[in-house]
Amino acid sequence: MRKKSLIYSLLFQGGILLLLFILQFILPTYHHSSVSKIMVLASYAVAYNFLLGYTGLMSLGHAMFFAAGMYAAGLGIYYLELSALGALLFGAAFTLVISLLFGLFALRTSGVSFLIVTLMFGQTFYLSILYFNEFTFGQDGFSLAKHLGKLVIFNKEYLYSNPDVRYNFALILLTAYLLISTLIMFSPVGRILIAIRENESRTQLLGYNVYYYKLFALVLSGTFSGIAGAMHALLFTYVGTTFAEIHHSISPILWTLLGGAGTVIGPLFGTGIMYYLVDIISGITSNYQLVVGAVLILMIIWFPMGIMGTLRQKWMKWLP
C-alpha cells in the first residue's frame, strides 16, 4: 500500500513538474517570468511546510531563514567575491548554523509560545540587518547585477537573470524540494514526524526522542528556506530587508494553508494561486491587501485543510 502510494504520488508530482517544464515553451514573457518567481517562492513554502505540515509547529519568523540565506549569499558575492555556486553553498551553510542555534532554543517551547518566540527572533534578525547597515546596506538593500559573474553551460555564457536560466534553475530547485519532501514523508523519519504532529506525548512514550526529530525538521525547514533565499538573490539579483520583514514570514503560512498544510504539493498550488490573485486584483483595485485578508479569514473558516488537503480527504487518499 505504501509503495503504491509512493509511486502514485511521484507520478502525480512528476506530471506537474513535466507540465511546468513544457509551459516554459508556451508561456508569454510576463507569465514565463512570473512562473519562475512562483517556483522559487513555492520552494520556500515547501520548506516551510516541512515544519508546519509535518510537525505541526507554526513559525512566524521564517523570513529570518529566507533572509539569512539571501544575505549570506549576497554579501558573500559582494565582499568575498564568491562564485554563484559558492554563494549558494555559503548561504546554505550559514542558514544551517542559524537554524540549528535557533532550534536549540526555540524548541524548548511549543504551540503559541513557539510562535511568539519565532516572531521575536525573526524581528531581532530584521533589526540587526538595519543596525549593521554599514555592512548590510540597511533598508535600501543592494543589487548583485554587477557582481555576479556569468554562467557557462557548454561553453556559452549566460546571465543568471536570463529568463531561461532563471526558469530552469527555479524548476530544478522546486523539483529537488518536492522529491526530498516526498521521500522523507515515506521514510521512517517522516512517519515519526507525523506521529509527533498527531500526538506528541504518545510518540514520546513510545520511546522516540521527540526533541531531536523536531530539531531535524526545523533545521531542514530552515536550511531549505535559506537556500530558496540564496537562489532568489542569484536569480533576481536584489537583496533587501523586505525579505526579512514579518510580512515575508506571513506569506508562506498563507501559501501553505491555502494549498494544504501537510501535503507535499499543496504549497506550490497555494503560492501560485495567491501570486496570481494579487496580480489580478492589483490591476482592479489597489487594495489587494483587503483581498488577501479576506481570503485568509474565509479559508480558515471554510477551508481549513486547504485545497490539496480537502482533495486528499475526499478523493486522493494516496496523496502525500
Partner: protein
C-alpha cells in the same frame, strides 16, 4: 559618582519620566491582549489594529466636533464602544466558527489585521492626521520642558487600569471571567454563559486598545500603519509579565517602558529594540510562564 549624576542626572530623570508615561499606555494596550489570552487562550494579532482604530475614530470625532475637548470626550466614549462592537462581530462570525483553535485564530486575526488596515486606508486615507490635545500645557523643569498632556495620559491610563482591576474583582462579569480563565469546563457546568463571556472579553480587550489609541493620538498622530509597533511591544510585555496575568502585565510594562527609555537614551535605540526582542524570546525559552503568572500550558 556625583559628577556622573550631574552630567547624566537630567538624562536619567527624563528617561524615567518618559519611560513611566510609555509604561502606563503600554500597560493599557497589553492588558487587553493579556485578558484575551488569559480567558480565551488565543493570541489576537489584530490587537494593534484596534489601537489604531481608536486613534482614527478619535480623529473623526475631532473633525466632527471641531473642538479638542468635546472631540476628545466623544471619542473617549465612542471609540472603545465602536471597536468593542467590531470585536464582538469578529468573535461571533470568525473566532467562534473556528472554535478558538489557537493556530487558526492567529491566521484569522492576521487576516483581520489586513482587512482593517485596508479599509482604514480607503476611508481615512494614507496620511497621518493630527488631533489637538483636549488640555495642553508645558511643564518647565530646570533642564528641559515636558508636555503636561503626557502626564494626563499617564493618569488616565492608570484610571483605566484601576477600572479593569475593579471590574475583575468586584463585578459578576469579572467573576465569570476569572472562572472561565481557571477552568472552562467547570465554569460551564456552573452555568457561566461562556459564549457571552468570550464575546465580552474580546470586546473589552479591543476597547482597552482603542482607549489607549484615543489617549495617545494627541501626542502622536493617527495613521493606518500605526498598529504594528504597539502590537510587538504588547507581545513583549505580555510575555515577560506572564500570559494572562494582570499584575505581571503592569509590572512588565514598567520594566519595558523604563528600560527602553534608558537604553535608548544612553545607547543606540535600534540596539535597544533588538535587545528587547531577543530578551523576550529568551524569557519565553527559559521561563515559559513569564516572570509572573502561572504555567501556561
Amino acid at each position: 559618582m556625583s559628577s556622573w549624576i550631574n552630567e547624566n542626572g537630567p538624562l536619567l530623570f527624563l528617561a524615567l519620566l518618559d519611560g513611566t508615561v510609555t509604561a502606563f499606555v503600554l500597560a493599557l494596550i497589553a492588558l487587553g491582549l493579556s485578558l484575551v489570552f488569559g480567558v480565551m487562550r488565543i493570541v489576537n494579532i489584530a490587537h494593534g489594529e484596534f489601537f489604531m482604530l481608536g486613534a482614527v475614530f478619535s480623529w473623526f470625532a475631532f473633525d466632527l466636533t471641531d473642538d479638542p475637548l468635546w472631540g476628545f470626550l466623544l471619542a473617549l466614549v465612542l471609540a472603545p464602544a465602536l471597536v468593542g462592537g467590531i470585536a464582538v462581530f469578529s468573535d461571533r462570525f470568525i473566532l467562534r466558527k473556528i472554535k478558538y483553535h489557537p493556530e487558526s485564530t492567529i491566521v484569522a486575526t492576521i487576516g483581520l489585521l489586513y482587512v482593517i488596515q485596508s479599509l482604514t486606508l480607503i476611508v481615512f486615507g494614507p496620511e497621518a492626521r493630527a488631533v489637538e490635545a483636549p488640555l495642553y500645557f508645558r511643564i518647565q523643569f530646570p533642564w528641559f520642558g515636558y508636555s503636561g498632556y503626557k502626564l494626563i495620559v499617564a493618569g488616565m491610563s492608570a484610571l483605566g487600569l484601576l477600572g479593569v482591576w475593579l471590574l475583575m474583582i468586584r463585578s459578576k462579569l469579572g467573576l465569570y471571567m476569572r472562572a472561565t480563565q481557571q477552568d472552562l469546563e467547570i465554569a460551564k457546568t456552573y452555568g457561566v454563559p461562556t459564549k457571552k463571556i468570550y464575546a465580552a472579553v474580546f470586546a473589552l480587550g479591543g476597547g482597552l486598545a482603542a482607549l489607549a489609541g484615543v489617549l495617545v493620538v494627541p501626542i502622536r498622530q493617527a495613521d493606518h500603519l500605526m498598529g504594528l509597533e504597539p502590537l510587538l511591544l504588547s507581545f513583549i510585555v505580555v510575555i515577560i509579565g506572564g500570559l494572562g496575568s494582570i499584575r505581571g502585565t503592569i509590572v512588565a510594562a514598567f520594566i519595558i517602558g523604563i528600560s527602553d527609555g534608558i537604553i535608548s537614551v544612553f545607547y543606540e535605540p535600534t540596539l535597544a529594540k533588538m535587545l528587547a526582542t531577543l530578551f523576550v524570546a529568551m524569557v519565553l525559552v527559559l521561563k515559559p510562564s513569564g516572570l509572573y503568572g502561572e504555567e501556561v500550558a
